[in-house]
């Protein structure tokens, strides 16, 4: 029994050495292992007295330190995923790309789901499902973008990282003051905020989708807690007749969005472009409002009924509302164009 205990004690202290060796070498590439292992083992035994105990072994291994750190020093490879050379570039690109991905995916997913789901079920259920699906798609896309970017930079760090000594700029070389010339000086007042541009595009895309599906969405709802769709307000055929100019407007907004992303500040050309888009909006309003067939006939009858008046009176009221809306939209467009022109001419 005593011999067994002594045997086990011997085994323990030797095991300690063996395990340490393994912890170091397993982190090393094959080619280096044998040579380093031999030298390391020899060194450890050199440090130990003749009848060493486990305590001696622990002391010796303590001077050598953390096997992971020792191995990393032998390998001369980074103990980080993305180091100082590429970190700034990595973060800058992330800040640039992820919001754009988020916005674009949000718009496409939302519009897609809207188009898909609308009219299929009860309006509240549809709304929840649209938002839920869209949110999930955006999160999923963002996570994937983050993953791929991180992976690419981790690989860069380990391949060309050896040839680069200092943090890398967007142009891929060492920073010089000339790099500053590349960045346009954007005074805060002229800056185009990313969310502002994205919001505009999103808003337009949303309205276009609602436009396409107006017959299912825009209508009279009745009932207390469970709303049921009774009839559409607009004549879908009429709406679809103007589809070309609606699409043109959407495309112009998209172009404006991309241009904003590139230029990032209000310039004269951008302000002009903004005015053009606004003019198209006003033209659309005018075209729609002057079309006699805009409203669903049943809707007008329903409204006249509810308000206890003649069809003529209801139509007169609707015309007044059209004027009011038209003027408000025109006013907003003019004010927005003016504001942005002022921004563009600021120094």
């Amino acid at each position: 029994m005593k011999n067994l205990r002594i045997y086990l004690k011997e085994e323990n202290k030797l095991d300690l050495i063996k395990v340490y060796m393994k912890e170091v070498t397993k982190r090393l590439p094959e080619k280096m292992r044998k040579d380093i292992a031999l030298e390391l083992e020899s060194t450890i035994y050199d440090m130990l007295p003749d009848n060493f105990t486990e305590a001696h072994v622990e002391e010796a291994l303590a001077t050598l330190g953390n096997p992971a750190v020792l191995a990393s020093r032998y390998k001369d490879s980074p103990m980080h995923l993305i180091g100082p050379k590429f970190y700034d570039l990595y973060i800058s690109l992330l800040k640039l790309i992820i919001p754009i991905v988020g916005i674009v995916v949000f718009i496409t997913a939302f519009v897609n789901r809207l188009h898909h789901d609308v009219g299929t079920d009860h309006i509240s259920l549809v709304a929840v499902s649209i938002f839920g699906e869209t949110l999930w798609t955006v999160i999923s896309a963002t996570i994937q973008t983050f993953f791929w970017m991180t992976l690419i930079f981790a690989i860069l760090e380990r391949t060309i990282g050896n040839k680069v000594n200092e943090p890398v700029t967007l142009s891929g070389k060492k920073w010089t003051p000339k790099d500053l010339k590349q960045i346009p000086y954007v005074p805060a007042k002229r800056e185009v905020k990313l969310y502002e541009a994205g919001f505009n595009l999103f808003w337009t895309a949303l309205w276009v989708t609602i436009y396409f599906n107006a017959q299912y969405i825009i209508g009279i709802y009745e009932g207390g807690t469970t709303l049921t769709f009774v009839m559409p307000i607009f004549n879908q055929e009429t709406l679809m007749a103007y589809i070309v100019i609606i699409i043109i407007h959407l495309i112009l907004e998209a172009i404006k969005f991309v241009y904003m992303l590139i230029v990032r500040q209000w310039t004269i050309p951008l302000a002009f472009g903004n005015v053009v888009v606004h003019i198209v909006s006003i033209v659309i309003i005018i075209l729609l409002f002057t079309d006699a067939q805009l409203f669903n006939v049943e809707f007008i009858e329903y409204l006249a009924n509810k308000r206890n008046e003649t069809i003529g009176q209801t139509e007169a009221m609707i015309t007044n509302i059209k004027w009011i809306i038209g003027l408000i939209v025109t006013a907003i467009c003019i004010i927005d164009s003016f504001i942005n022109f002022r921004k563009a001419t600021l120094k």
Binding site: E39, L40, E41, S42, T43, Y45, D46, T63, R73
Partner: protein
């Protein structure tokens, strides 16, 4: 505060390790014998830095190594070569210059 001083001191020592090591390799030494030589001169050595350093210096062409399998256990001996000696001499001069500059600063000289 002690931690901070310890960190600065370690940094200072780490900078002089290469010079210290090269100065002791005029005759062939193996890892542990080098440690003992340095510690006998009063220099505390971080062993987890020393062994990889020897390996790197060899890779950079400053040392040559050879395995000695004759004794009780196999040992890897390092020795400074011609190129290494040349660099060592120049590095020593740089060290002396640095020493002088720093001494001047610390004594408030010009």
């Amino acid at each position: 505060m002690d931690d901070l001083l310890h960190a600065f001191t370690t940094e200072l020592r780490r900078g002089t390790l290469t010079l210290a090591v090269l100065s002791q390799l005029d005759s062939p030494q193996y890892g542990y014998s080098l440690v003992q030589r340095l510690e006998n001169s009063g220099i505390t050595i971080d062993q987890s830095t020393l062994y990889p350093l020897l390996r790197r210096l060899e890779k950079q062409g400053i040392l040559t190594s050879s395995w000695n399998t004759e004794e009780s256990r196999p040992r890897k001996y390092y020795e400074i070569n011609e190129k290494g000696y040349d660099i060592f001499k120049k590095l020593t001069m740089e060290w002396n210059k640095l020493n002088e500059e720093l001494t001047n600063l610390l004594e408030g000289g010009e």
